[in-house]
């Protein structure tokens, strides 16, 4: 197992390298510059700018410098947000996005697993059909439609929650964004749990458990749940990657000062260091999280041997 972990950790480096290179290439290949704005700059000013940011050096030199800096976790300073280093911005935006993402996924796990389990236990009842219909809705309503709708209902009509504000993790302002983000995951997790549980409940060892005289509750809680939730665990890895893109949309809808919002703005501003910084960070996060999920898989299923 240790070798497996080491191998996976080591592989992060080349992956990061690929990601950073592609991103950097895209930024460099794109027309326009970060400093092109409303005003037209005089050649002298432009030359100074280019020199200040090292843009007048040959591209391979700049590339080499970039890699060197990144190896030391120095992503440079934002081109658009004067005087702020990328690391500072990352530090500021991360808690917001992390709080949003984690809360959303926890909600999704709790409600999704509960719904899916009840649906499986009462197959073909109205609980089953109802939950699955609800799940289908969750998959079909895009988060950028759901978000505003929730705002319309709960903020502007019922005044329960603030519409577009961020008061920190512990405040009410996290509720609507987290719910919006979680919707599609509640749906997928509910469906996966249901099919996973149904599959497990058909298996021979569940039959043995019943033949031993265990009550239905004991059979489900002690025997069925662990195997039935495996699909949810394997889903969690790739789910994170998409959670990130979901965060981008939700942060835009609710105007939250998280990494997603910074990222989109950086893209439109051609803020190269910030773009590369955020993308690199996301890549590492995704890889690490996938590794954690795979490791936990081994703990849940004793048959797995890395």
């Amino acid at each position: 197992m240790l070798r497996f972990i080491i191998r996976r950790v080591v592989i992060i480096v080349p992956m990061l390298f690929i990601v950073v290179t592609i991103t950097w290439a895209l930024v460099r290949l794109s027309p326009g510059n970060f400093y092109t704005g409303e005003k037209k700059l005089t050649p002298a000013v432009e030359r100074n700018l280019r020199e200040k940011y090292g843009l007048n050096q040959p591209w391979y030199t700049q590339y080499r410098k970039l890699l060197w800096n990144i190896a030391r976790f120095d992503f440079g300073s934002s081109l658009k947000y004067e005087g702020q280093s990328v690391n500072q911005i990352l530090w500021r935006g991360l808690p917001v996005s992390a709080a949003l993402g984690i809360t959303a996924y926890l909600i999704a796990l709790i409600f999704g697993i509960a719904m899916g389990t009840f649906a499986a236990l009462r197959q073909n009842s109205w609980i089953d059909y109802g939950s699955m219909a609800l799940a289908m809705l969750g998959i079909s309503i895009p988060n950028f439609v759901l978000g505003p709708l929730l705002v319309l209902l709960f903020s502007l009509t019922l005044f329960w929650f603030p519409p577009a504000l961020w008061n920190g993790f512990a405040s009410r302002s996290i509720v609507l964004p987290a719910l919006t983000l979680s919707a599609i995951y509640i749906a997928y997790i509910a469906r996966l749990t249901r099919s996973g549980m149904l599959e497990v409940l058909r298996s021979d060892y569940i039959r043995t458990a019943r033949a031993k005289g265990l009550s239905e509750r004991q059979v489900v809680m002690r025997h069925a749940l662990r195997g039935g939730l495996l699909p949810v665990v394997s889903f969690s890895g790739p789910a994170l990657a998409f959670l990130i893109t979901g965060t981008v949309v939700v942060e835009k809808v609710f105007a939250l000062p998280g990494l997603g919002n910074y990222f989109i703005n950086a893209c439109f501003n051609r803020d190269e260091p910030l773009i590369i910084g955020i993308v690199a960070f996301i890549a590492i996060a995704v890889l690490v999280f996938n590794l954690l999920v795979d490791i936990s898989y081994a703990f849940i299923d004793p048959r797995i041997r890395y």
């Binding site: 073909n124 298996s203 021979d204 060892y205 039959r207 043995t208 458990a209 019943r210 033949a211 031993k212 005289g213 265990l214 009550s215 002690r222 025997h223 662990r226 195997g227 849940i300 299923d301 004793p302 048959r303």
Partner: protein
Amino acid sequence: MNDQNGNLLSVKDLRVYFAAEDGTVKAVDGINFEVKRGETLGIVGESGSGKTVANLALMKLIPTPPGKIVSGSINFNGADILKLSPAELRDLRGKRIAMIFQDPMTSLNPFMRVSKQLMEVTRLHLGHSKAEARAHAIEMLEHVGIPDAADRMDSYPHEFSGGMRQRVMIAMALSCKPELLIADEPTTALDVTIQAQILELIKELKAETGTSVILITHDLGVVAGMTDHLIVMYAGKIFEQAPTKELFARPGNPYTRGLLRSVPDPTHDTETLYQIPGQPPDLARLPPGCPFAARCERAAEICTREFPPFVELTPSHRSLCHFANEVYAESSATS
């Protein structure tokens, strides 16, 4: 406690039907049998004969949406299992009637340690504490012949070999000293050499504890040395029932005869191996006459038209056939 006839288990007119896409599958269609205390009953049949369904029905382990126990009574120790409340049923299962299944790999929970699976039974039914349950489990494992039981019991099922796993299942089933053990093809998934060991084990344990056993199999070789009585099932019905020796020596039914002929006899030099021709019938669309008529070498016109009678050849030997007496006479002549 037995009922009036000294029977531990008495099944009367059991019918289990399944609702399938294209009709009703009559998996078990009116069977009657008894098991006496301390006796071993063998139930023999091909796949699809209904033998497994019948035995699952004994503990009401049939899934009710597609399946239904349509009629019948299952009398265990004087009480009808089909009329028990869920709580009473749970009390019965694992404690007084136990079942072991065909494939020990899939029948044991792969995510749970063997020790926990064993301890679960006695803690539930006998009220053992953790320590008591653990000691008891070790005892059972050693009893079924698993070396180093105390060390190995905390492993997971996949860390045991097939034969070992089946021993674990047997240990689990016998933990609470049940009055009846139902063994559904316990050796089919195992190697031939292991098969013999497992059967021996069951025999020994039975001798020790006096448990009654129902042994289900498609393999006549297995039942020969193990059982007191035999039932032959086909298409959801009992085609013949008799004491084992009698059935082997003087079969009264063409189907049984066919089964016996299919067992290769190393002492006789034959060119081809015998196989009963044809396939078992579609249980959703049974023909009006005898279900075996299409494959029977003795089939006559009456067989396709009329359902055969259950003929009593001797008080303990019955056969479902129009020509039961003739077949019986022929067998007696040659034996």
